[in-house]
């Protein structure tokens, strides 16, 4: 058991952090609200890292913590999820993709369907069809997270190949770990902003961060963040090791990340006071991603219920993925 990063992993994390800090400032996330095409300047850089979708989950998670930290717009997470499921089978020339889960009411949306080349569609059976995105009818679904575009699929494809259920299960667990990594990244951004604000903002002639009410709030936020981050790293390791704990660990990671994100976005906004719910301040750019992510691949409650099935045995028919 070793949670320490290898030199290569540290380099990957630091490279991602610097790249995204430079290429995805708040101004880009804000500009994306009105002009989704602004993601293209960022994508030129992120496209070089899509092979992470086929590599170790630990590496992918380290990178996604950083894309989460900046609420990066564009199909990076979608492409990693796509390549994790279909990447070995499809034309290596296809660099972008996304996933559609047909007949799954917990995961009804298709990420970034208007700016990817391919869509891997999972149908009941399970079956898999990989089709060109331009051949599909999709409908845009406006949502509070302006940095991510969601769609619904008009009609499933006529033809699909059988998909090994074990492969789908492995992909599902990996997908949960990856999204959880992005969630702890966005939560860390909001936490860092709130901590900084608490140190700078003065009331009653002192920084508000000197008040115990604020200190204890930040201590609890910090604990939630650190344990969720640890849970994500553990989950990624179980994915890479195909460990028997994998399914549990990935649900734990998503539930812990969901709880941390919600606590931190709520308390972070509270610490920011009035400025925290203005359009002008950048906080809302990140609150939006943190809020929407919790519902992307099953809510915190859904993951807890799956965990209950694994820990206590099922008590009802399992729906969803």
């Amino acid at each position: 058991m070793d949670f320490s990063l290898t030199d290569d992993q540290e380099l990957l994390r630091d490279t991602a952090h610097k790249l995204l800090e430079r290429e995805c400032p708040p101004a880009l996330v804000r500009a994306h609200i009105d002009d989704p095409s602004v993601y293209e300047s960022l994508w030129r850089h992120l496209a070089e890292y899509v092979a992470l979708g086929n590599g170790p989950a630990t590496d992918a998670c380290l990178f996604l913590e950083q894309t989460g930290y900046v609420a990066a717009p564009g199909p990076f997470l979608a492409t990693l999820l796509f390549r994790s499921l279909a990447g070995d089978d499809v034309d290596r020339g296809a660099t972008t993709g996304t996933i559609a889960l047909v007949g799954d009411d917990t995961h009804p949306f298709v990420l970034e369907a208007d700016r990817v080349e391919s869509v891997a569609i999972v149908l009941p059976g399970p079956k898999l069809a990989v089709v060109g995105a331009s051949d599909l009818g999709v409908t845009f679904v406006p949502n509070v997270d302006f940095s991510r575009r969601l769609f619904t699929l008009a009609a499933p494809p006529a033809r699909a190949e059988p998909l090994d259920p074990a492969r789908l299960a492995a992909w599902r667990d990996r997908a949960h770990a990856l999204l959880a990594a992005e969630m702890v990244g966005i939560a860390r951004r909001i936490f860092d902003m709130s901590l900084q604000y608490a140190k700078e903002r003065e009331q009653f002639d002192r920084p508000i961060g000197s008040f115990q009410a604020i200190q204890h709030k930040l201590a609890d936020m910090s604990l939630a963040l650190e344990r969720a981050t640890a849970a994500v790293h553990y989950a990624a390791m179980t994915v890479d090791a195909a460990d028997a704990e994998r399914e549990r660990a990935c649900h734990v990671a998503q539930a812990a990340a969901g709880e941390a994100a919600r606590r931190i976005l709520k308390d972070g906004a509270q610490i920011h006071g009035g400025i925290g719910y203005t359009w002008e301040h950048d906080l809302h750019l990140y609150l939006r991603r943190a809020t929407a992510d919790e519902y992307l691949l099953g809510s915190t409650g859904w993951h807890l219920d799956r965990l209950a099935d694994l820990v206590m045995g099922p008590s009802q028919a399992v729906r969803g993925l």
Binding site: M1, S210, H216, L218, L223, H251, V252, G301
Partner: protein, 391 residues
């Protein structure tokens, strides 16, 4: 990042398992929960003293220490494996933690050569120690302690009172923090003395725990003469040692705390089945959330705290201390909820496991107070980890 342990570490584990299989006394098989409900008639039963000595003699008491101190010079990772293995078998190392967990590391760091001679017996458990820290008016504000030690030529004269002093009734020695200079700012006038508990002028009044057993005591000092050689560290330099010893107390405790918590959650699953509550969606979600908490805390422990098992005094201990103590309390509450109307019933045969969950709930009140309250832990996290201003 990888799940697998190295071959050397697996060999270490195998050797430990072999030792435990061969030497664990039968009385230990009942696990450590029973101590919480207070069914040990003796404060530190004989078999537990023998067990600690056996561990020491085989180099398994504090494996990171050298053999003469009851160890085998193992690595920090191996210490973690050791603690994890004991916890998974719900085995205690000792019935009295102050000696090996606080006194020994503090003396090794701050004691003189003569005082270091006391360390092996402290770790082996041959000497039982108590820690004289808390006073009626010095709890969380430990630096406000008022027990006075006046230096007169070659000895101190100690007057004052300690309280919540665990093991004081059976201890031979006290690691006692005293005020040696009341004119200095409060953190700067404190010294640490080793006081023999049979010294004339010491009176011990046992205090009963909320569960009715006597686990700690009040200790009164009236003109107690303590030779000057029993000063540890420098005169008025005691505060630095309190910082070390509090951290030592927390070091490595997280593995046991997390394992105990995870074990409680396993028991709650069984309890829910027995009480017919395992299909109740509210209970199911609460148990799942508890499982998630335990699992993520274990990951956090592994991730950030492996080195602390060796007793470093980094403030991040506070995360695990605060989280596991609060989680434990909530788990026993959940146990009571699952028991329903039988929760408060303690009569044998009538209630659920003789009122185990309500007893454990009461006992868990100590965990969020002793060794630094949850509020103090949050202050430490805010100020030392997050860098927020004190004022």
């Amino acid at each position: 990042m990888q799940l697998a342990w190295s071959a050397e570490d697996e060999a270490f584990r195998a050797e430990l398992v072999q030792f435990l299989d061969a030497h664990t006394p039968p009385q230990m098989q009942r696990g450590f929960d029973s101590y919480d409900v207070g069914d040990a008639h003796e404060l530190v039963p004989r078999y537990l003293r023998d067990w600690q000595a056996t561990l020491f003699d085989h180099g398994w008491m504090v494996p990171g220490y050298p053999p003469e101190l009851g160890g085998r010079n193992c690595t920090p990772v191996q210490t973690l494996i050791y603690l994890e293995t004991l916890a998974s078998r719900r085995l205690l190392r000792s019935g009295h933690f102050p000696g090996y967990a606080i006194v020994a590391p503090s003396l090794l760091e701050f004691g003189n050569d003569e005082q270091k001679q006391l360390v092996p017996a402290a770790i082996r458990g041959d000497t039982i120690w108590c820690i004289g820290m808390s006073e009626p008016n010095a709890g969380s504000d430990l630096a406000g302690l008022q027990t006075r030690a006046e230096l007169r030529d070659d000895h101190f004269v100690v007057n004052g009172q300690k309280v919540w002093t665990s093991y004081a009734m059976i201890a031979q020695k006290c690691f006692c923090y005293v005020r040696t200079d009341p004119t200095l700012p409060k953190h700067k006038g404190i010294s640490l003395l080793i006081i023999d508990m049979d010294t004339p002028g010491i009176e011990i009044r046992p205090l009963r725990h909320i569960n009715g057993t006597a686990g700690f005591a009040e200790v009164f000092f009236t003109d107690v003469i303590v030779p000057r050689e029993q000063l540890v560290g420098s005169l008025n330099g005691g505060w630095a040692i309190t910082q070390g010893s509090l951290a030592h107390e927390r070091a490595g405790l997280w593995v046991e705390s997390v394992s105990r918590y995870e074990h409680t959650i396993e028991n709650l699953v069984d309890l829910a089945r027995r009480m017919g509550r395992d299909t109740d969606p509210v209970i199911r979600r609460k148990i799942a959330a508890s499982y998630e908490l335990g699992s993520s805390l274990r990951a956090l422990g592994y991730k950030g705290f492996a080195s602390f098992a060796q007793g470093s005094s980094a403030p991040e201990h506070s995360y695990m201390k605060m989280a596991t103590s609060e989680a434990g309390k909530a788990a026993y509450e959940l146990g009571m909820e699952i028991c329903g109307p039988l929760a408060p019933v303690s009569a044998p045969g009538l209630g659920v496991e003789d009122g185990r969950y309500v007893h454990m709930f009461f006992m868990s009140f100590a965990n969020t107070v002793a060794g630094g309250s949850s509020e103090i832990q949050r202050n430490i996290i805010a100020q030392r980890v997050l860098g927020l201003p004190r004022r």
